[in-house]
């Protein structure tokens, strides 16, 4: 009986588990309901139950594990040099994939910070996919590395420029 009461209480207090839900809303633009659903997804992936996701938690998703760019996508969630991502970071990365707010694009206020799902921020995210060492530039080696990941063993190993030129 005691466990039922404590479960009830924790359900009531579920809102408290998501700290600063208002801040996340402002930063990412997700609605309240979407944030709760994403939190549920986050906790279901978090097998360790410690409130953060590790790389292993991502690799446990079969559809991601068979994706040729699975490792790069996973890396996109983790801040520089870190091995764990908390819920805030998780949602922040996913916010890039929200559809563009049309009215925001039109009335561009140069001094206001752009929302995470603006065209520029989306392009920045895509750029970082290729820029593996995060030095702000895509080197030829980085490009080849991504290509190697997509193509796998079917890549023609040669020192020349790959066929067709990139």
């Amino acid at each position: 009986m005691g466990s039922i009461v404590s479960r009830l209480l924790s359900r009531l207090l579920r809102e408290e588990e998501i700290e600063d839900i208002e801040e996340i809303k402002k930063e990412t633009g997700f609605s309240h309901r979407k944030i709760t659903r994403l939190y549920r997804r986050f906790t279901s992936l978090d097998k360790g139950g410690n409130g953060t996701l590790s790389r292993d938690d991502f690799h446990r998703i079969p559809e991601l594990a068979i994706n040729p760019l699975g490792d790069i996508i996973t890396n996109g969630f983790f801040p520089e040099g870190e091995d764990q991502v908390n819920f805030r970071g998780f949602v922040r990365t996913l916010a890039h994939f929200r559809p563009i707010d049309q009215d925001n694009e039109k009335n561009k206020n140069p001094s206001a910070t752009e929302p995470l799902n603006s065209r520029t921020n989306k392009l920045l995210f895509a750029f970082r996919l290729y820029d593996l060492d995060r030095d702000g530039k895509i080197s030829r080696d980085e490009l080849l590395q991504v290509l190697r990941m997509i193509v796998g063993v079917n890549l023609i190993c040669s020192t020349k420029t790959p066929k067709g030129g990139i």
Partner: protein, 446 residues
């Protein structure tokens, strides 16, 4: 003090007699006094009323609950070629034979992010999300105070389930299991006359019926003319160990499984005394040829009962059917597919073995509202000419999924614990390479 204990004992005796007369004996002989029907009618009406209330409250607030978790993503399920063409529409190069383009990685990135937010596989290993709350604490995800009436009904439900129904169900289950062990051992002492088989079937069915009452199971059987016959193999989708109780209430099957210790071991040894089941030692399970041979021997003996197998190999949450292991389809006998679909409104039947132990799972089952399920017996299937075991297994799986209204997945249920094989990634890589460099087949090989 003595009076108190005497009184308590007397009350317990009355309770037991009532249980036996009103529930156990009718269920043993397959008829019903109508008590559970009345309970179910009241329950259905209550849940409908609760659903209406919740919906009304939600629409008053102006917030509409998305009907399924797919409301989170806007999917565009195009083929790889079509999507790459879309991505390249600002450049003149076609996707086929048109070399690598920077934007090609967007296709994979999008698929990857989609699978992080919501994938087809991991959601099958946790309980199904309900569309509307069914007044159980365990299925409540977005608790909101709706109205006093609803909370009172919810509180009343807790009292009814934990204080009235649970003790009743536990009593019945204990009676059922002990009767199974005693009855089958007793029948096992008889010599091998015809009457032994008949008695053994009778004992098995009676005990499973008692256990089914112990879970307040309401089972609807469809197409009973297709019931599995001797010498065949019955395959079904697997949601929990209770599937066995559900199927065995309507017929006798030979079980296949590993030898366990403890209570399960006692039950197994008792059962095998009265009629042959196929129990394997842990070491024998690894030897596929031995397993196949023993199953073949059992099947070829036309006097033995049909074997019951769950080819998925693990419990899935009853929203989908995952890959069938080909072992049982290689034996070459008639396959009788059975589809089992539970109604999640009355209780979640899925056993999440990583989250709950068997005992805790059974207690959860006994404190749910009820167990309502549909069982469809599908027409028998045989392996066709030119079809290998894997294709046959997939054909049977699709038939079961179609009948039960479940999603037909190609993924392996073993992914619950194991990692996915690298070959699937290599398939995707090969597909992309073949598409992009298609005009250059001579230098395609490494």
């Amino acid at each position: 003090m003595d009076d108190f204990w005497a009184g308590a004992l007397w009350a317990l005796k009355i309770w037991l007699y009532l249980v036996i007369i009103l529930i156990m004996i009718p269920s043993m002989f397959g008829f019903s006094l109508g008590i559970s029907e009345i309970y179910m009618t009241i329950l259905v009406k209550t849940l409908e009323w609760a659903t209406l209330n919740i919906q009304k409250a939600n629409s008053d607030e102006g917030t509409l609950k998305p009907s399924s978790s797919n409301g989170l993503i806007q999917r565009e399920n195009g083929s790889m070629e079509k999507e790459l063409e879309e991505l390249r529409r600002s450049r003149p190069k076609p996707p086929v034979g048109g070399d690598f383009t920077l934007s090609d990685c967007f296709y994979f990135t999008r698929q990857g992010i989609e699978s992080i937010v919501d994938d087809e596989v991991t959601q099958r290993f946790t309980s199904e999300e309900l569309v509307s709350w069914n007044l159980l604490t365990r299925t409540n995800n977005d608790f909101q105070y709706i109205s006093l009436k609803l909370t009172l009904v919810y509180g009343l439900g807790i009292i009814v389930r934990y204080c009235i129904l649970a003790p009743l169900r536990i009593t019945l289950t204990i009676i059922g299991v002990s009767w199974l062990v005693i009855g089958t051992s007793a029948v096992g002492l008889l010599p091998n006359w015809r009457i032994k088989f008949w008695l053994s079937e009778l004992v098995h069915v009676m005990c499973y019926r008692i256990c089914a009452r112990g879970l307040s199971a309401t089972i609807r059987y469809h197409n009973r003319e297709n019931k599995p016959k001797k010498g065949g193999i019955c395959v079904a989708n697997h949601t929990s160990p209770i599937d066995i109780v559900i199927l065995c209430t309507d017929g006798c099957y030979a079980m296949v499984g590993q030898v366990h210790g403890g209570l399960m071991g006692i039950i197994q040894r008792a059962m095998v005394r009265s009629c042959p089941h196929v129990w394997f030692e842990r070491s024998e399970m690894k030897d596929r040829h031995l397993v196949t041979k023993r199953l073949k021997d059992h099947v070829n003996d036309k006097k033995k009962l049909p074997i019951l197998i769950f080819p998925e190999g693990t419990c899935i949450n009853n929203t989908s059917v995952m890959m069938f292991k080909k072992g049982s389809f290689e034996i070459g006998t008639t396959i009788y597919p059975v589809a089992i679909k539970y109604d999640p409104k009355f209780g979640d039947a899925f056993w999440n073995s990583s989250k709950h132990s068997m005992v805790s799972y059974l207690l959860r089952m006994m404190t749910s509202w009820a167990l309502v399920c549909n069982v469809w017996y599908l027409p028998a299937m045989h392996q066709q000419e030119g079809e290998d075991a894997v294709q046959f297994a997939n054909r049977v799986k699709s038939a079961i999924a179609h009948q039960g209204g479940l999603v037909d997945l190609q993924w392996d249920g073993g992914l619950k614990r194991a990692k996915v094989k690298e070959t699937f990634k290599e398939q995707q890589q090969k597909k992309y390479s073949n598409m992009v460099v298609r005009d250059d087949s001579s230098s395609n090989s490494d």
